[in-house]
């Protein structure tokens, strides 16, 4: 304690703060700048590392995942014959997937004729308890040719059904809104074939190292570390330009 007292005296009491002038401001300021830069760099590094962990090479912009083949089978939007194919592994309960949906709509609007978007189910049940049922609901709507309509409702009203114990009441409501046959919808949702289809998508994603949602594959290559919407757009623009 005695040491502290000495330190205190010499540093604060013996010296009137104002007379110490510039130095007393420069010292704390410079330490502050160092601290802020360090904190921001650590945060930035961690942000990047989380996304790079999935790739063995750690190549920042795009990583070629050539081993597992991503098929173009799934729910298709845009031009079915386009050479450029964007595959999304998505989860209806994932908020960033809902945001991504808007971005995809923008991209599709721009490249209606040259882009094929494929949606594959990747409900992360361990973190999103109603995601599997939502996937089933979307598939069941798909049996009545309303997959995209249902998926839009599920994404836009995510907050409504995400944390309720019985999301089916909401899904039935959406089905009614889309004028689906209610009995068929209800029985389809629980059907094994639909569940199996979703599990096949999940398996495909797991083989291709999908670890978070949404994960995109552009012409079979996993897109990683996308820093902005602009970069996402540019990657797609480039792929379309260089398409044969």
């Amino acid at each position: 304690m005695a040491k502290n007292d000495n330190f205190r005296k010499s540093d604060f009491e013996a010296r009137p703060p104002k007379s110490s002038g510039g130095r007393s401001v420069i010292k704390p300021l410079s330490v502050l700048v160092v601290l802020v830069v360090a904190a921001l760099s650590i945060a930035f590094f961690l942000t990047r590392r989380g996304e790079q962990a999935a790739s063995a090479q750690g190549n920042p912009a795009t990583v070629l995942n050539s081993k597992p083949v991503i098929t173009a089978e799934g729910w298709v939007k845009g031009s079915p014959t386009a050479k450029t194919i964007l595959v999304e592994f998505g989860d209806f309960q994932c908020p960033s997937c809902a945001l991504a949906q808007v971005k995809i709509a923008e991209v599709l609007k721009k490249h209606e004729k040259n882009l094929k978007v494929v949606f594959k189910q990747y409900p992360m049940q361990n973190v999103h308890r109603n995601a599997m049922l939502a996937a089933q609901a979307a598939e069941a709507a798909g049996r009545q040719a309303k997959f995209w309509e249902m998926s839009e409702l599920l994404f836009s009203r995510q907050a409504e059904w995400s944390n309720v114990p019985d999301p089916m009441t909401f899904f039935n409501k959406y089905a009614a809104e889309l004028q689906l046959n209610p009995d068929k919808f209800r029985s389809d949702v629980m059907e094994n074939e639909i569940r199996n289809k979703i599990y096949r998508d999940i398996l495909e994603g797991q083989m291709a190292q999908v670890r978070s949602v949404p994960t995109f594959f552009l012409n079979g290559n996993m897109l990683q570390n996308i820093k902005s919407d602009v970069e996402f757009q540019q990657l797609i623009d480039k792929a379309i330009q260089s398409a044969p």
Binding site: F12, L35, L46, M124
Partner: protein, 140 residues
Amino acid sequence: MKISRWIYAALVSAAFLGMTDSSYVALHSSQGFLIPCGFAGGCDQVLSSPYARFLGISIAWFGLAFYLTIAATSLFAFFSYPKVLRVSFVASGLAFLISLYLLYLQAFVIRAFCDYCLFSASLVILIFGLHFWARPWQTT
């Protein structure tokens, strides 16, 4: 009133950890894209809930501003002006109340917890507590 240098060290360290934590969350929130949903239990639910934003800005940015204030005031207090701890005392009291409210939201409204938010809440409690130890209102 004498303020031990350890209190300053603790304040600056807590503020540094807080800046790292809040800027990590803030950086993720500003991307709005490819946020890993998988790792910590309720991060996704908490950070995407309407409570995660205030005036349209992610509250992580406000957290960053708070920790920046604490870092600045404790450094200035340490090097020359111990009185500025009065400012950070008021700020940390405010942050303490806000943290309690956010904890309440996580526990009872969103019903999900996010690691980064819990860590930040404990830092705020620590910072507030350290101010009681330092008693800035007694500084002359």
